[in-house]
């Protein structure tokens, strides 16, 4: 362009070319013009002319001054300067800006016009760059803004790759989380590692969806960890950038810390709950009908509207349903609240020394913080306990609000209390007037008022009736009154009334009157002095109480009671009334004598205090209480009782529930029969019967012995005698039979000796008992059997470590040991070394002796019943009379013991003896 312009004056290529060029120059919107050194316009295009016209309002002609009026001074100065530069031969560009009349940016180019080496003018070219300039400015502004935002925004920028590893991590992100970009990248931390563990499950799901492109953007709010371990709330704006193939390149996250905002939100929610709670409490109070409703509703509302975990009100002496038992006792924090009247706040129940009792509920019921507020009626009477599941819940604002709520509750409770009183009082006032009259007639109480100035008394209707007068005779003088007094009481009555008059003191006295018809009544009179405002006595008011019936009943009652008492004292049975604590309310003579006390001394004593044997007293107390609590009568057929002298009694007792006359006190009325003598006789009888039965059995056994064992040798003697009487016996034969006869006679003698022996055992029980050592006894027996033991290689093993002695008859125990050991040796098993084991043991209050051998044994199924029978034998090949075990059993039994056996053929036999411990 500049070339064409430069060349234009000398252009001679042809009309067409010239015309085209002109058209081009004049149709462009750019300004083209030339100026000589005198600032006179040489040539210009249409656009220039139009611009000057526009700027100055005048057309410009060739040869006229270009620096004419219409331009601003600044513009003129800038142009002059630019022209001067061009005239100095410089080719250059400047940017011209003008704001008037409108914003206009143009780029001006100056090309000096030379004539030889002399500059004669300049060609100028102006290009409107307003639009360009404007958008450039806007761009700069936008850029600056962006930078500003990036630097000042609360958003952190984080770029993740599709594996969710950090690609970039802005300064702000560093501020939010604490980790620098390098740290985070170096640590190879995944996106998940800084997500709060409770939020991780759902956050990781979304992150995963973002990473594999399932979703393109998602904003989430969740909790994150910071480098220093804090948990913060963050808001994340995540979006995915994909390449043209749809593969995820980057996940862009913008994040901001919304912890404060979140906290504020929570605080607002809490506050709104609290306000809801308080307003509901107030509503409840307004609508509640009584104390219980207030308490119940306040607790309900605390949970329902206050969103507290649990709440209850514990009142002294009042148990709320929802309150765990152990928590109602006024100890620990609650006790402190009740004592001081100040509220107790705990923001960490788990670590609170005063709330140790509540510790289990931390994990069990999610308790974390609590506030215990005093509930007052007149003084602190209870606690309002509110539990929150959040730690550090009760901050000053919350505490203040809750105190207000508790105050409201206390206020309403007081109101109910006062209300109750007021209504009671009103009721009383209304009733009292009406009742007075009624009461007077029911109670036979008459009243009167005496005016000192007149000396005349006015009597009430009932007063007249008591004195046998008509109701119109209700005005009486003092003297008239005295005329009714029984002569015997007159002196006393006058003395008392004079005294009252003199001292102005109130008086009360008993006297009789005689009505006009001669009937005597018993009266209790009371008088009271009345004073006026000046404190001078103006009159007497009094009541007269007709107690005639009462007096008579009293007398009759006293008589009947005296009778009853006398009867009861004459009874051999013990009669008593005791209260729940075992305190004697009534005792008859028989009962009192058991304690060596009079019946009067017995009253108000407790049996635990006066009974010599405490266990008996406790048993009785326990039984009394059972009767009182169950309300059912009980009979104890036998109770062993030790009296004050240490004598044992047996009582048969009947106890019935009883209410002490004139009180509501529950007690027990008892009737005890001393059955000691009766019982002794009974025991003696039982013992005798048992003895007789036993002896009878013995006799039966004897009859059998007689039948068999005595008869056996006798029968033989009979038989031999018959043989000896036969004819045809030779001398040898005869002598042989005589020999057999002799041995049969000897056998008979043995049997008779045995019987004698047995009878001795069963009938000599008077021997003296002594302490016998088992080990010594066994040693004696071993000595006796010495040969037998040596010859047969018998081993006798004993262990008396458990118990080695007992109080017994030595001869019997010796015989028992002797027979059992002897049996064990006698019935040893051929070919086996005989071993006898003897041990002792202690079983409860019994001594047990065990004799065990490895001998022949026997079949107890077959012979069990006969083992201990007299002359019972089970082995024909061994010498024996069948007497040993019978003797053992007899002796064991006469020592009060028992014997048992277990045995098995070819294994051995075991005898177990049990003695009662002496």
């Amino acid at each position: 362009m500049d070339g064409s312009d430069e060349r234009s004056p000398g252009m001679t290529e042809g009309i067409d070319g010239q015309d085209n060029l002109h058209a081009l120059i004049n149709n462009t919107s750019d300004l083209i013009w030339s100026v000589d050194r005198n600032y006179k316009l040489i040539s210009s295009n249409t656009a220039f002319d139009e611009m000057v016209m526009h700027m100055t309002g005048k057309p410009i002609a060739k040869g006229s001054d270009v620096l004419s009026d219409g331009f601003t001074t600044g513009q003129l100065a800038r142009f002059r300067k630019s022209y001067a530069r061009a005239f100095s031969g410089e080719t250059f560009k400047v940017t011209e800006y003008t704001a008037v009349p409108e914003e206009l940016w143009s780029e001006l180019s100056f090309y000096p016009i030379r004539n030889g080496d002399k500059v004669v003018g300049t060609a100028c070219y102006a290009h409107d760059i307003t639009d360009f300039k404007k958008s450039q400015n806007e761009l700069i502004v936008a850029h600056n803004k962006l930078v500003f935002h990036l630097e000042n925004t609360t958003l952190g920028f984080i770029e993740w790759d599709d594996q969710l590893h950090v690609k970039s991590w802005s300064k702000k992100a560093e501020e939010i989380f604490g980790w620098t970009e390098l740290e985070f990248i170096d640590l190879q931390k995944s996106a998940y590692s800084q997500v709060y563990k409770e939020d991780l499950p759902w956050v990781s799901k979304i992150a995963h969806q973002l990473a594999n492109g399932e979703i393109e953007r998602r904003s989430v709010r969740h909790r994150n960890y910071t480098k220093d371990g804090r948990v913060i709330w963050c808001e994340w704006f995540n979006s995915v950038l994909k390449d043209k193939n749809g593969k995820v390149m980057t996940i862009m996250s913008q994040v901001r810390d919304i912890t404060k905002q979140k906290k504020a939100e929570e605080k607002i929610i809490t506050a709104s709950h609290l306000y809801a709670f308080i307003s509901q409490v107030n509503q409840c109070i307004t609508h509640a009908e009584n104390e219980e409703t207030v308490i119940k509703d306040a607790c309900r509302v605390a949970v329902e509207f206050g969103k507290f975990k649990e709440a209850w009100i514990g009142m002294m002496g009042y148990m709320d349903e929802g309150c765990p038992h152990s928590l109602c006792e006024a100890n620990g924090a609650q006790g402190q609240v009740i004592q001081t009247g100040n509220c107790y706040v705990c923001n960490d129940i788990e670590n609170d020394a005063l709330l140790l009792d509540w510790k289990p509920f931390v994990s069990e019921r999610g308790w974390r913080s609590c506030i215990i507020l005093p509930v007052k009626k007149s003084g602190t009477v209870g606690t309002f306990n509110i539990i929150s599941s959040a730690v550090n819940f009760f901050q000053p604002e919350e505490v203040a609000l809750l105190k207000e709520a508790a105050g409201d509750i206390s206020f309403s409770l007081s109101v109910f209390e006062k209300d109750k009183h007021r209504m009671l009082m009103e009721d009383k006032a209304v009733q009292s007037g009406l009742r007075l009259k009624q009461a007077q007639s029911i109670a036979h109480v008459g009243s009167w008022e005496l005016n000192f100035s007149t000396g005349i008394a006015e009597w009430s209707e009932e007063m007249c009736r008591i004195y046998g007068l008509d109701s119109y005779e209700n005005v009486q003088s003092y003297d008239a009154w005295l005329s009714f007094i029984h002569p015997e009481d007159l002196e006393y009555v006058m003395k008392v009334s004079k005294e009252g008059e003199r001292t102005f003191s109130n008086s009360s006295f008993y006297h009789r009157i005689i009505r006009k018809n001669g009937v005597i009544r018993h009266i209790l009179s009371q008088a009271q002095v009345e004073f006026n405002k000046e404190s001078s006595a103006v009159g007497l008011t009094g009541v007269a109480h007709d107690i005639t019936e009462m007096k008579e009943t009293e007398k009759a009652l006293a008589q009947s009671e005296a009778n009853l008492l006398q009867i009861m004292d004459l009874m051999p049975q013990s009669i008593f009334v005791k209260d729940y604590n075992g305190k004697v309310v009534f005792a008859n003579k028989s009962f009192a004598s058991l304690y060596g006390l009079s019946t009067k001394q017995m009253i108000n004593r407790t049996l635990t205090e006066i009974m010599p044997v405490k266990s008996e007293a406790e048993y009785l107390l326990h039984q009394d209480r059972d009767v009182i609590l169950s309300g059912e009568a009980t009979t104890t057929p036998e109770f062993s009782f030790t009296d004050y002298g240490g004598n044992k009694h047996l009582f048969h007792t009947l106890k019935v529930p009883f209410t002490v006359v004139g009180t509501n006190e529950k007690a027990v009325l008892g009737l005890s029969n001393d059955i000691t003598e009766q019982k002794l006789a009974e025991t003696e009888r039982t013992r005798m019967v048992a003895d007789i039965v036993r002896r009878n059995k013995d006799l039966e056994q004897f009859s059998y012995i007689v039948s068999h064992n005595v008869r056996a040798p006798v029968a033989n003697i009979n038989g031999i005698t018959e043989i000896l009487q036969m004819s045809g016996l030779d001398k040898n034969d005869r002598e042989r039979w005589i020999g057999e006869l002799a041995s049969s006679v000897k056998k008979l003698d043995e049997v008779i000796m045995d019987l004698n022996h047995i009878l001795k055992v069963t009938h000599t029980e008077s021997d003296k008992k002594e302490t016998v050592k088992f080990s010594e006894l066994l040693n004696d027996i071993k000595l006796g059997f010495n040969n037998l033991i040596l010859n047969n290689g018998v081993e006798i093993v004993s262990d008396f470590s458990a118990v080695d002695e007992m109080l017994t008859l030595r001869s019997y125990l010796y015989s028992i040991f002797f027979n059992l050991v002897s049996n064990s040796i006698k019935y040893r098993r051929p070919g086996i070394k005989p071993v006898v084991e003897i041990t002792s043991a202690r079983l409860d209050d019994k001594i047990q002796l065990i004799f065990k051998d490895n001998g022949l044994g026997m079949d107890l199924k077959k012979r069990g019943g006969q083992v201990f029978g007299l002359y019972k034998r089970f082995h024909w090949h061994v010498e024996g009379k069948g007497m040993g075990l019978y003797m053992v059993k007899t002796q064991v039994e006469s020592l009060g013991g028992k014997i048992g056996i277990s045995s098995e053929v070819n294994k051995g036999t075991e005898f177990r003896i049990e003695f009662e411990m002496a």
């Binding site: 009859s703 068999h708 056996a712 038989g719 018959e722 089970f874 024909w876």
Partner: protein, 146 residues
Amino acid sequence: MEQKSIPDFIVFDDDVINNLICEKIIQTTIPGAIVQTFTEPERGLEYILATYADDNSNNAILFLDINMPSLNGWEVLDKLDEFPDVVKGHIKIFMLSSSVDPLDTEKARDNPLVSGYIMKSLSQVKLRAVFPDCINPAVRPTVAIP
């Protein structure tokens, strides 16, 4: 059944003297009679089972004591009861005891194997009361108690 006129006699008793008496009384009363005595009933039972198992065996009279140490009379009867009928058919049993206990006599009467109860000791008179029946089975024995 072909029979010898005189039965065998068997005595079970642990009392040796009694056995001697029985032997003597039987042999004097019934000359030629065979008497077997046993102090151990077990041996006696073995003998009976061995000797009387044949149809042609001789008949026998058993005097059985009650009170014996290893097997008593009643137990002997229980064992005998288990013997083959052939054996039982040859044996006639009398209890021979010194017991006067009515329980024992009742028990003897109630046991179908027992033909009678003889009170010790055996005498010629008592034996004769038993013996004719052995010759003529049609006649039931009369028990004599002295």
